[in-house]
């Protein structure tokens, strides 16, 4: 920056300080949310939510302050931008985008929304536990009303829902998503039918039984270590809904949940969140403490969790290496199961009710249901009270099964309680990104499958660090996928991958 004019230097320094402070407050807020989800006492939630509202509000005010406006006006001048280094330039661009969005929201409205969503998450937990959807409706109605108001203030894009999508995947539209999901549906639904008609069903009997929680925990930690997750820069806890949160690259926390009668839930949940965590732990140090020190979009983030969970964690090679370790953790329970049999068993395709426990194929159908419902909520004014009925009908249509309770239906996901409408598509985008990225990784890394089968997971982690992780928000999702694969996101890689995988497992012709 030594060639920057003095006035630019001064603005730049003030801008760096101001955005660093916003990042610091976000880090602290992230910790408070982590705590709320991992064991904060019930009776403290109400006041805590108010405190979160106050600090979020202060953060929001900083990001929309007159000072921020002046600094951005100065720094976004073309001649000034041209003088900035890459990191500062991207920081200015990203911050300017957020500023434009945030300054349209009255601070008091923002504060109310934060308190509401903070309380709503506890209300959702309770509603899910008690299977009480009506008890959750008042929160949902308010959250949706807030989001409708935000869309008005921001200005609706082609549709209202487009405005929400853009928050999680910059530039993504319903039109584009309709096309991608249409392509997926056209190839995956017939694939699911061929699988359903195959006489070669995997044996899953060995997955039944009761699996000691402490042993599950131990194995989860083992696999995270193998993936290269750094426990000195993170920790593993339990929560109702598993999540990963990157407070800084030096503190990226994961949660999972252990089900005594389902070994795979915690196992793949942990690998999934571990994938998110590898991303956040390996962002280049130059971005530490800046607003660019996080994943570039939810779609790219989910690509990393889904890549590790499915393309590695549910691969044959992985279990050739790790099945013996798993068996050692559950003596007598998995004896005699071969890697091949285990691999087929954990990849059984079966319509199911719970998204996070779905197989790789039907998972995308779970996402499309949520996508359609969210479009109905925002583009067709669907009444939230009708959600259980719509939810159950769509499950019946798409998967042929219906939840018997709202707890295993419309109440299963945490997202809406936090106002995260528009997030769900990220999971299927992630699957598509992951398949397209893995296609290149297989060409770049010699003998990747053999390495995985030998427990050499580091070369893949290093490749992903080089290609994806290190950049944080320094590159946009589109730039990343084009740089890696030479083309924009396509649905065909995921379809090819799934067709190949299940052709083997179900011996399809």
């Amino acid at each position: 920056m030594s060639h920057a004019k003095p006035e630019v230097s001064s603005s730049l320094n003030r801008f760096r300080e101001l955005t660093a402070r916003i990042k610091q407050y976000e880090e602290i807020l992230g910790l408070v949310y982590w705590d709320m989800r991992t064991g904060a006492p019930r009776k403290g939630i109400e006041l805590r939510s108010e405190a979160v509202g106050a600090l979020s509000s202060e953060t929001f005010k900083l990001s929309t302050s007159a000072e921020m406006g002046e600094l951005l006006a100065e720094l976004t001048k073309p001649e000034q931008l041209a003088q900035l280094g890459e990191i500062d330039r991207r920081l200015v661009e990203e911050t300017a985008k957020e500023y434009e969005r945030n300054r349209k929201i009255p601070p008091e409205m923002h504060r109310e929304y934060v308190v509401l969503t903070s309380q709503a998450e506890s209300a959702w937990e309770e509603a899910k536990e008690k299977n009480d959807f009506p008890g959750f409706v008042p929160y949902l109605e308010k959250i949706i009303a807030f989001n409708r108001r935000f869309i008005e203030l921001w200005g609706a894009k082609e549709t209202s829902y487009d405005t929400l999508l853009d928050m999680y995947e910059p530039g993504l539209t319903t039109k584009e998503l309709d096309r991608l999901f249409g392509e997926l549906r056209a190839r995956l639904v017939p694939l699911a039918e061929r699988i359903a008609n195959s006489p070669n069903k995997p044996d899953v009997s060995f997955l039944e039984g009761t699996f000691d929680k402490e042993a599950q925990k131990k194995f989860s930690r083992h696999i995270l270590n193998e993936m290269g997750y750094d426990f000195e820069a993170g920790r593993l806890d339990e929560s109702v809904h598993p999540f990963a949160t990157g407070l800084s690259s030096g503190d990226v926390r994961i949660t999972t949940r252990y089900l005594p009668d389902d070994l795979t839930s915690a196992l793949f949940g942990t690998i999934h969140e571990g994938g998110h965590a590898l991303y956040e732990q390996n962002i280049m140090p130059e971005l530490a403490g800046t607003l660019l020190c996080t994943g570039t979009s939810m779609g790219i983030h989910e690509s990393q969790s889904r890549l590790w969970e499915n393309m590695i964690g549910r691969s044959l090679g992985f279990w050739e290496r790790y099945l013996p370790d798993l068996q050692a953790n559950f003596p007598g329970q998995l004896d005699g199961v071969t890697a091949e049999r285990f691999y087929r068993g954990i990849n059984v395709v079966e319509p199911s009710l719970i998204r996070i426990e779905a197989d790789e194929l039907t998972y995308n159908l779970h996402i499309m249901i949520r996508y359609e419902i969210e479009k109905m909520l925002f583009n067709e004014n669907l009444d939230p009270r009708d959600l259980p009925e719509v939810w159950n009908r769509k499950y019946k249509e798409a998967l042929g099964i219906e939840p018997s309770t709202d707890a295993e239906g419309v109440l299963q996901d945490v997202h809406w309680s936090g106002g995260a409408f528009g997030y769900f598509p990220s999971y299927s985008l992630g699957n598509m990104y992951a398949a397209q990225i893995m296609d290149v990784a297989r060409r770049d890394i010699t003998d990747l499958d053999r390495q995985v089968a030998e427990g050499q997971l580091h070369p893949l982690k290093e490749w992903l660090t080089k290609q994806v992780y290190q950049y944080g928000k320094l590159q946009q999702p589109g730039e990343i996928i084009e740089r890696i694969s030479g083309k924009p996101l396509e649905s065909s890689y995921l379809c090819d991958y799934l067709e190949n995988k299940y052709r083997d497992i179900y011996q399809l012709d």
Copy 2:
């Protein structure tokens, strides 16, 4: 407040909002500190400390802002104060006192100090683990230098150290403390000698052995439940140095540490922190969210922890009721031990090196050593590098034993790493307050000893709530002890109590 003049109402509302926000930020900062001490990953500490510095700094700025100055100038006018209700009046008085103190510290100096002490705590943990006092010295030197500067800015009272004392026990002076500690020494040192010369030593052999950690944890939780600690308004975790932290009355957290070869460490540590927690959980709801919603002084706070730990937890009646429960948790390990034998064993008086594991009597000698050293640091400019030598010599003089490592000597306590010079006397003040308060409780509560022996701990908890807990900071320490006992703090109650207790245990004549 309906009779307040409009301009008062408006100032009062703004004042309430501003102080509520300070309290909210303090709650969040409390949570971050709790997290740092209970398992925050090492690699995130540096950036976290910066974030804590930023938020503390903002909090500090609010408390010293021009707005605060104007509001206080208005509200402290006698005619305005007279119109305020009790809570608002005390809030104004307390805030004004803090304001006067804080506004003398430049905000940047405050921020640096917060970052320093936040990093110093991690450095202390590491130094203690590695027995590396020299590694901790640079932190200690800086912290002491900051405190010397603060004293200059605040203006030294009769001595520099008096200025520090006043922060933890308003109005307390070295002169008064010299007197109180002199009286204690005059009666407790001879008592300790008579005990040392008594041929009737308690049997402690049954306390030796290895005690399962999970069983220790279970019993700790059991006793907290019995004391009336509300687990829906708190949680129990582990940390290197046990502590309690009241984030709000609905979230009062305790930590303890489990030593496999020492049953009593976690046990009495938990009861001690549980006593602190009962105080914070039972402050009247009217004070929730205000700066008055916390203990009134460290001395009164320690009186509640020490009362539960020693006067209840180390009483014969308590173990008549709870020894069978303890025995059930450690089958085969405490068989045949009678309540009487157990009671005598846990009350053995023996010079020891570690304060938090000391018996009730010599505990006060540990405190006096720290008090004398702190006076030397601030009134006589003792060089921190000489601390181990001074520490070891004083232990030799007062207790006849010397630490063989700094980890069990000068590095044993967390306090100095957080800059809490002047805090230690609170523990012995707490012992004195507790004895004076219990003297009244025994007269007010019919058959208190029998109730404890039957596991009826609620009447005592309710009495303490009524007399102490509910008030939070609404009354000053002096007001509280005078209201309860009709006189100021005296050393004689503690001396009488200890003499009586040990006369029985050691069969002194």
